[in-house]
């Protein structure tokens, strides 16, 4: 199993957000999380990445995640759509992040831009990007180191119909390649079409709905 959650409980300011969550996710699996706004979907993703305190145990790729100290490994993440740097081009933004660990060549960065359909805009400054293009770039940064796990919070946000179809196809392809994908979405049709299992978060509990 690539991701293991055991008795995970998350409280924010003494208010319980998620209670006693257990989940096992393996390779080649795509898991969808649905739920209304504020139900705790993003909170759960943050906990898996190690960005918020939790009780219980979260283990990713055989390594325990320690909240705030030891983050998720071998993963590409995108939670809450953080902005990329506006005055840099798409390629420069990716290069900046690639330079942190120096495992990706410029050629690989260009390949990932091809994958998300942004190669024609690689030299364009991000501040001139549309919402959909920014979203594609965020997805590109998650993919660029070819991680085993992808954690994507609302990956279809801001995308038009064609964009949704292209990104769905890309995620499907990545799943076939053996990647583990965990994503949230408001669009239940997309989730159903893409995911092997779908969980709903309701009242702080996680229910497997399909």
């Amino acid at each position: 199993m690539r991701i293991k959650l055991k008795n995970v409980t998350i409280k924010i300011k003494s208010q319980s957000i998620l209670d006693d969550v257990n989940m096992l996710i393996g390779a080649k699996e795509c898991i969808g999380l649905i739920g209304h706004n504020g139900s705790g979907k993003s909170v759960l993703l943050k906990a898996i990445c190690g960005f918020i305190p939790f009780s219980g145990r979260i283990n990713v790729m055989g390594k325990d995640v320690i909240a705030g100290k030891q983050f998720i490994i071998d993963s590409g993440i995108m939670i809450e759509q953080p902005d990329m740097i506006g005055y840099l081009t798409a390629l420069e933004n990716l290069q900046l992040l690639a330079d942190l660990i120096k495992e990706v060549s410029t050629k690989q960065l260009e390949e990932v831009l091809v994958q998300v359909g942004l190669v024609d805009c690689k030299g364009k400054k991000v501040k001139h990007f549309s919402l959909g293009m920014k979203q594609r770039l965020r997805i590109a940064q998650a993919l660029m180191e070819d991680p085993a796990i992808l954690i994507l919070d609302e990956p279809f946000n801001g995308l038009d119909k064609r964009g949704v179809a292209e990104i769905s196809e890309l995620l499907q392809e990545l799943k076939q390649q053996g990647k583990t994908i965990l994503l949230t979405s408001h669009d239940e049709r997309q989730i159903d079409a893409l995911c092997d299992r779908v969980y709903e978060i309701e009242g702080g509990h996680l229910y497997c709905v399909s």
């Binding site: 960005f51 705030g68 100290k69 939670i79 005055y87 660990i101």
Partner: protein
């Protein structure tokens, strides 16, 4: 801004700030010089700029008021803001991209502070160099020991830069706990408190000049804060 553009911007901002501070101080001193028909020394400019707290015994420091503190206060404030822009402008959520790649909070914090540290040092260096140039250029015919003046300025450069680095690192952790608004309020408040403490107890010499050994306490103070922030780098968690 790209690398060289940023360096130019930092340099020009620092030179502009130094020039404004210098003009303000030199106007005061020239008025004093005309009124008392006395000669000016390079040291006077340094004292006026960096607030010699024992000014009651020096007649050229007379008429000191709160506005005399402003140039130095704004320099410290601007230097910290210049450093902090590297993380303030991106927002905490952006650093999830760093966290996922760097794996541990310790490496993440070091990386988050790295760019700002560099910018802050460039800014402080430019400001002090500009002050040195302005004083030397405008007082080149004064009879006095330029070597002592330069040594004093180099020491000031070192203690101010160390102090700024310590405060910058400390405020970085404040930002992690309290976000942008908390950071700005703490920055303004902490600087004001340090000014008040140092003016009330001049011999503490945290940032202001106090006789020959003024730099020792400042270095110890900054060293303690730097050590404290090193512990914070190890033990502080990163939460979104």
């Amino acid at each position: 801004m790209k690398g060289y553009q940023k360096i130019c911007f930092l340099f020009l901002t620092a030179v502009l700030l130094a020039s404004v501070s210098y003009v303000y101080v030199s106007n005061n001193l020239f008025q004093y010089s005309v009124a008392t028909n006395s000669q000016l020394y390079k040291e006077y400019f340094v004292h006026k700029l960096f607030i010699f707290p024992d000014y009651t015994r020096l007649d050229y420091m007379e008429g000191k008021n709160v506005f005399d503190l402003m140039p130095f206060y704004f320099f410290l404030l601007s230097a910290i803001v210049v450093g902090a822009l590297s993380f303030l402008s991106r927002g905490k959520v952006y650093f999830q991209y760093y966290a996922a790649r760097l794996k541990t909070s310790r490496r993440l914090f070091s990386r988050m502070m790295q760019k700002g540290t560099y910018d802050l040092v460039v800014f402080s260096l430019s400001y002090h160099m500009a002050i040195i140039c302005l004083i030397v250029y405008n007082t080149f015919n004064y009879q006095e020991d330029s070597q002592t003046f330069l040594l004093q300025m180099v020491l000031l450069l070192i203690i101010h830069t160390l102090f700024l680095l310590a405060l910058y690192r400390f405020l970085f952790f404040v930002y992690l706990m309290l976000d942008d608004v908390g950071f700005v309020l703490m920055l303004v408040g902490v600087l004001a408190i340090i000014f008040m403490i140092n003016l009330t107890f001049p011999s503490l010499s945290i940032i202001f000049i106090w006789h020959d050994l003024h730099w020792v306490i400042s270095i110890i103070f900054s060293g303690i804060i730097l050590l404290l922030t090193q512990f914070m780098t190890i033990f502080m968690p990163f939460h979104l």
